[in-house]
């Protein structure tokens, strides 16, 4: 059976096509104010990679906060369950999933069967979401990739006192003005968000292995800070971190 999952997040749209459980195509595009165009682009990429026409897809399941803006799916499911389903395939030994999207953070506790045991979500405050790092990177005029790299060059720990992203932006600008080293600022920002994620993850009584996914998981600085923040020996960062929601949705579509 050929099915697809579409994850319409706050910032990006992801599409994954699976055939008999295996990924045969995936696509991703940035959604601005309008997600429909991005969905079209993500679909085109995914279908191109799979070498299929849209009508070859037997069933589409959608997830993500903005899915209703886009439409064009048969079924919908929660991001939490989608993440768990995909993780069970990708890293079956993971017991805690930390998913950091642009405007949401989630900690999900799963069992050996990939069932969700507990979860915590923050969707109210940017301080625990990818948008926090993006805002700070913008304030420093540094690309996201460079931001992570710089953080790893840091040699000392300084605090970001503000929790709020808006206040932290002013604080970061002050630090830049004070000529604090840029690597130290980048690390401080990653530490700040990692603290918030760690607090959220502890609410579900996290257990190893812990896997980090979502767009923010691409940040090597965040990976490093979260590993330290959670006091872990190993933090699994699987491949395709951005596609877990869509992959899970596709798997769910093929189950039924």
């Amino acid at each position: 059976m050929i099915s697809a999952g579409m994850d319409v997040g706050a910032k990006t749209v992801k599409v994954v096509i699976v055939k008999d459980g295996a990924i045969i195509g995936k696509g991703i595009a940035t959604a601005g104010l309008e997600a429909t165009g991005a969905a079209g682009a993500a679909w085109e990429q995914a279908l191109g990679e799979a070498g299929l026409a849209r009508d070859a897809i037997e069933k589409v399941t959608a997830t993500g906060a903005r899915r209703e803006e886009v439409g064009g799916y048969d079924d919908a499911m929660s991001e939490v369950v989608a993440d768990a389903l995909a993780m069970h395939v990708a890293v079956p030994e993971a017991r805690t999933i930390v998913d950091v999207g642009a405007e949401e953070g989630r900690a999900i506790k799963v069992n050996a069967d990939g069932k969700v045991l507990d979860f915590a979500v923050n969707e109210k405050c940017a301080a625990g979401a990818g948008a926090f790092i993006e805002a700070m990177a913008r304030a420093m005029q540094v690309s996201m990739a460079e931001f992570g790299k710089l953080a790893l060059e840091s040699t000392r720990t300084i605090p970001i006192n503000a929790q709020c992203a808006i206040f932290a932006e002013s604080e970061v600008v002050s630090l830049v003005h004070d000529e604090t080293s840029r690597p130290d600022i980048c690390k401080a920002v990653n530490d700040a968000i990692a603290d918030r994620l760690a607090a959220m993850s502890r609410r579900v009584l996290l257990q190893p292995k812990v896997a980090l996914i979502g767009g923010a998981a691409l940040g090597i600085g965040l990976q490093d800070s979260l590993k330290r923040g959670l006091d872990l020996e190993e933090l699994v960062v699987p491949e395709n971190v951005q596609f877990f929601g869509a992959h899970g949705a596709a798997l769910s579509a093929s189950e039924q």
């Binding site: 104010l33 940017a126 709020c164 206040f167 002050s174």
Partner: protein, 297 residues
Amino acid sequence: MVAEEEKSKKEYWRWDETNWVDPEKAWRDAKIITAGVDVGSVSSQAVIMADGKLYAYANTRTGYNSPESALNVARWALEATDGMTLEDIHFSVGTGYGRVKVPFANKAITEIACHARGANYMYGPTVRTVMDMGGQDLKAIRCDERGKVMSFLMNEKCAAGTGRGMEVIADLLEVPIQEVGERSLDVAEDPPPVSSTCVLFAKSEMMGLLKKGYSVNQALAAYCSAMAYRVFTQIKEVDVVEDFVITGGIAKNAGIVTRIERLLGITSLKTDVDYQLAGAIGAALFGKVLYEKAQKK
């Protein structure tokens, strides 16, 4: 391209910095000259009082360096006067977030005490509840007829409900901050409030509203309603007793003040004195008391 760049450089959040002097007063006749300097996270005020009466002030944006900001705002207040210098001031009190970094201050006093005392001066002894809507915090203070603090609460964790949050929105919608309040009231009917609490998320939500066909005024109304409601739920906890006053920069925003009054079912007292001066006025008044005490010893 050039036009685009110029547009992006325009700072809609930037409010007018001012200085003022009472032309009727001759400060050289005064027995005690005191100064209060309120170095906030966003704005700084310096107030000079002659025998406990407002004589001169300045209101500026806080820079990156607190001691420098304190000196700058004090110098600017002095500039308005007829030749007064820092040496002519008998006693100076620092308050606000940067209160311990006022280089010429004889003492630092918390902004809670100063705001209550200042509001008592600005609005009179009937004031019982002062809500200060600052750049990066929200304070609700219950006080007695002498301006003494009975109880207070403070939110300084989150930009929702603060002046800084409002500045970000003004910038986003390219509306000069002074016009935000009036324009938010210039709608046929208030649209549903913005649903995101977080200012960063509210930004994307508001861009979406514009895309959906909201006018800029409607988008401002949606934000102001949400902000007023958030502030309302926070200050309810202090049991708002009349007379009620709102101080700080947001007190100049009729769109927020009107909506908070509507939610509380209470009208706030108004004054001609700049609403941002409450902390600095309180500090200068404390300065007078402290100076007199020191003289008696």
